[in-house]
Amino acid sequence: MIAENTQTQMRKGILEYCVLSIISRGEIYASDIIAELRAAKLLVVEGTLYPLLTRLKNNGLLSYNWVESTSGPPRKYYTLTEDGRGILSQLDQTWQELAYAVGISQKGANS
């Protein structure tokens, strides 16, 4: 239970960073984001993504374009804004620090 909880917390912590990273690679559709997250075994259900995307968009990190689709209604394609890129680079920095911290914690400072 405790392990599960911690896992959830850790996944959640990096989810936003991962989503921003995926989008930073280019204009992308929500279900494609999901596909990548699922491949990374970070997220399974699609419904969860929409509130996250909406929030990021409202915070000014993302913007979207309506793109015509062959199979159904127009789709929202997300891109990073300038703010988003700024935040992402900060998060990149943080992630380096965290990876370092984790590596140090696991192997010891001297090795």
Binding site: V45, P51, G72, K76
Partner: protein, 580 residues
């Protein structure tokens, strides 16, 4: 085969099987609930709907199908994820302020009126939820303070106005202090949807002005009253209805028996009594029938209505009750027509006079024949010999309720010719002058003159077969000036033009008569005249005494003034005009 529904989801038209539709609708409702408190709920839900539409379209294309079935919907739900799964990602992370109030609202109890467990308006049950008590104790307390000058009722009314009622499921949960439980939102999808809407409009609702609240209160009060009348009050109404049925049926039976009696099955003599004596013989059947219907039908209707109230059963159908109404109207028409016909028989007036000159006597005695009048048939029936003066049945002179007005009236006037004369005037109404005259002629009236004693019978009779048409007998007795009249007490009430009760023989009160004398100014009471003469004599005596006194003390002004004042007073009393 399954019924297919066409839905519009995310601006895409999709054919969907009914069971799959229910499934999808349930899921979307869940999602809507979940995001209801989210700042961007509309956008998120739209995104999700759009995605669902896309997924469904893709599936249909892949599977070369035209209609979405449950398997498709399940697949979509699996991909989108259940709301329970959403929690694992967004919990604690999402819009911290809103989320905390969301949690807060669910944990803390709110004061709502419990509409599911209510006696009047759910106020007590709501309070009970709030303080975690059994509603019955709250109710008992309310009832007790209601007896203390109605204070409890006032408090109750105020709380009724202030406390909103718990309408949606969420409100009911808040009322009971249950935590938000999304699994709770399973059934009754429409209700769920409404709950969301109400939740969104909650800000408005709490800002509801007091007038709107009052309006709600009044509306609910009458609704409660209606429920009371159809609930608890119903018992009371049923008891009343029971009484009405019993007494109504008794009344109807009485009416039938009474009508039968009137109709002459037992006795036709009822028509000799006033006011039934007004009715012409030929019209009796019709008017009786009409009156019977007029009385019978409404009572019958009342009884039938009471039966309906008491047993919740329509006693007769609409056609029959309509027929009853028609019958009743017919009864009213018949009665009205007959009544109009009868009243038309009072249209014309006729008089018949018969004058008799009486033998001259200096004193006449006026007396009333106290023996009750009996027709020949009655005399035989009651074994009364009308000619036997020792066997008298005394008439009490009092009119019962069913006696036609048949008293005589006596006027006493001065005879201009010096002859004592009795004029008997018979009057009556009738449809035409002729019938009025005929009715007047059918009056039978008797008086007896024994020497100087005039014995009048107090009532007149109508000849057999004559109906009451406001017949009257007026006697006019003219006596010459100077003739005395001995008026027996029994006759007082029949004298029309004088108030005879004041003139008793004052010196001897035991007499049952008073003495009157005819003067130029009309009939005068002798005792009164005597008294007046005596008084006049006294005053004249005093006046002559005063004349003498006036001659004394000519210089004493005070004395002279008082004497002349008294003279003035006496003269005024004697009717002598002052000499100025």
């Amino acid at each position: 085969m399954e019924k297919t529904i066409i839905i519009n989801i995310g601006n895409t038209i999709i054919h969907i099987e009914e069971s799959a539709y229910e499934r999808l609708k349930a899921y979307l409702n869940e999602v809507k609930h979940y995001f209801a408190n989210h700042a961007d709920d509309l956008e998120i839900v739209t995104d999700i709907e759009n995605r669902i539409a896309e997924l469904l379209t893709e599936q249909l294309e892949e599977q070369k199908k035209q209609v979405v079935d449950s398997a498709n919907v399940n697949a979509v739900i699996a991909q989108m994820g259940r709301v329970q799964d959403f929690d694992t990602v967004e919990e604690g992370e999402e819009e911290p302020v809103i989320n905390s109030t969301y949690q807060h609202q669910y944990v803390e109890k709110k004061l709502y009126r419990d509409m599911d467990d209510r006696v009047v308006a759910g106020v007590c049950a709501g309070i009970a939820h709030f303080v975690n008590a059994d509603p019955k104790w709250i109710r008992l307390a309310t009832l007790l303070i209601s007896f203390a000058g109605g204070f409890g009722i006032l408090v109750y009314a105020i709380l009724w106005i202030i406390m909103p009622k718990a309408k949606s499921r969420i409100e009911r949960m808040e009322m009971k202090g249950e935590p938000a439980n999304l699994q709770g939102f399973q059934k009754n999808l429409d209700e769920e949807l409404q709950a969301v809407k109400e939740r969104l409009g909650e800000v408005n609702k709490h800002a509801q002005p007091i007038f709107a609240r009052l309006g709600i209160f009044i509306g609910e009060f009458f609704e409660w009253l209606g429920r009371f009348i159809s609930g608890t009050g119903k018992v009371i109404f049923k008891v009343i209805a029971g009484f009405i049925i019993v007494f109504g049926v008794l009344f109807l039976l009485t009416l039938i028996i009474g009508t039968a009696a009137f109709q002459g099955f037992w006795d036709a003599s009822i028509y000799e009594y006033f006011p039934f004596s007004i009715i012409n013989e030929g019209n009796r059947g019709a008017i009786l029938f009409g009156a019977f219907i007029v009385c019978f039908v409404p009572v019958l209707a009342l009884v039938l209505f009471s039966i309906r109230v008491a047993f919740n059963k329509q006693a007769i159908n609409k056609t029959l009750s309509f027929a009853l109404l028609i019958i009743w109207l017919a009864g009213v028409a018949i009665t009205g027509y007959q009544a109009a016909k009868i009243s038309s028989e009072f249209k014309q007036h006729a008089e018949l006079t018969q004058t008799t000159d009486l033998k001259a006597y200096p004193v006449y005695t006026i007396n009333i024949d106290k023996s009750k009048y009996f027709s020949k048939e009655d005399s035989v029936a009651y074994h009364i010999d009308a000619n036997n003066r020792h066997q008298i049945v005394v008439d009490d002179f009092e009119d019962g309720p069913f006696v036609s007005p048949n008293h005589i009236r006596i006027d006493i006037n001065k005879s201009e010719t010096g002859v004592t004369r009795l004029t008997q005037k018979y009057e009556s109404q009738g449809k035409t002058f002729q019938s009025a005259l005929q009715n007047a002629q059918n009056i039978s009236y008797n008086y007896v003159m024994k020497d100087s004693e005039l014995i009048f019978s107090p009532r007149f009779q109508l000849r057999k077969g004559t109906i009451w048409r406001n017949q009257e007998v007026r006697l006019n007795l003219e006596i010459p000036v100077g003739t005395r009249l001995l008026l027996k007490q029994d006759a007082y009430r029949y004298v029309n033009n004088y108030w005879t009760w004041d003139c008793n023989n004052r010196e001897n009160d035991h007499n049952d008569y008073s003495v009157w004398i005819m003067t130029d100014d009309g009939l005068k009471c002798v005792a009164q005249l005597k008294e007046e003469a005596l008084k006049k004599e006294k005053l004249e005596q005093e006046l002559s005494d005063l004349d003498h006194l006036q001659k004394d003390k000519p210089n004493d002004t005070l004395y002279q003034d008082s004497v002349s004042n008294r003279i003035k007073e006496v003269k005024e009393e004697l009717g002598i005009a002052p000499e100025e």
